[in-house]
Symmetry: C2
Subunit: 146 residues, 2 copies
């Protein structure tokens, strides 16, 4: 199947044209991304964005970006169907909370490492050991960056 249209000789309409009850042209903008055997994909984007908006958004993009755009619209639409109040902004908020929690845990773990390193150096007998511990503690963060 070509990105720009449909297989020559194909007669069955794509999922979009089937739902919209219209003739599925050879150059149908929906056909490459909404196959007849996955009707739910188009049903979701149609419900949330509207067929005309989806059509417009696809037409405004170069062909090589349309598949990704359809995937992200289907994802967004499904999220909005599942959660009509927050849609995929709910997922963003939940991921943001997870990041805050991980940053707190990481800060605690890094503080623990610095604390242990300083204790270790303070019991060492070599001169200047505490200075080195403080220097390493100051550099602490770079140890964990990956």
């Amino acid at each position: 199947m070509k990105e720009s249209g449909r297989k020559v000789g194909a007669v069955s309409p794509c999922a979009a044209c089937k739902l919209l009850r219209r003739r599925c042209a050879q150059v149908c903008v929906f056909a490459p991304y909404f196959p007849a055997d996955e009707p739910q994909k188009f049903a979701s984007v149609h419900k949330v964005f509207g067929a005309s908006n989806v059509n417009k958004m696809l037409q405004e993009l170069p062909e090589h970006q349309r598949r990704d755009a359809v995937s992200s619209m289907v994802y967004e639409a499904n999220a909005r169907v599942r959660d009509p109040v927050y849609g995929c902004v709910g997922a963003i908020s939940s991921l943001q909370k997870q990041i805050d929690s991980l940053q707190t845990q990481l800060a605690l773990a890094q503080a623990e490492v610095v604390h242990m390193r300083m204790r270790q150096f303070s019991t060492s007998s070599s001169p200047g050991a505490m200075d080195r511990a403080v220097d390493q503690a100051a550099m602490g963060e770079s140890l964990w960056s990956c």
Copy 2:
């Protein structure tokens, strides 16, 4: 301003009715959330979801959830206008990468703590110190949960 409609006596149309060039009724579903002085909010959701879909989605929700729904729709629409290929799914993907990176950094920091603790115990003279170190290492994760 009431959630269910507009101030009695208000004459200027809301941003939605202004854009759609229609009369803004006392019970206009858009008016409480799309004030005339913020025209860009409605312009974005109209471009991405379509006024009719926004209307339908709001009508299907109880009034106390409509403000959050509008905020999340405006957020989503602005993200789609900024990034027509990935929309706010791009933000989700970027947050997910940030989480993966933080989880790796946290695992490294926790491993460092366990390593230092075991080294500390192994140089200790008390009997059974190594067993305690291994026990503490096994419990490692609970030390960081917050």
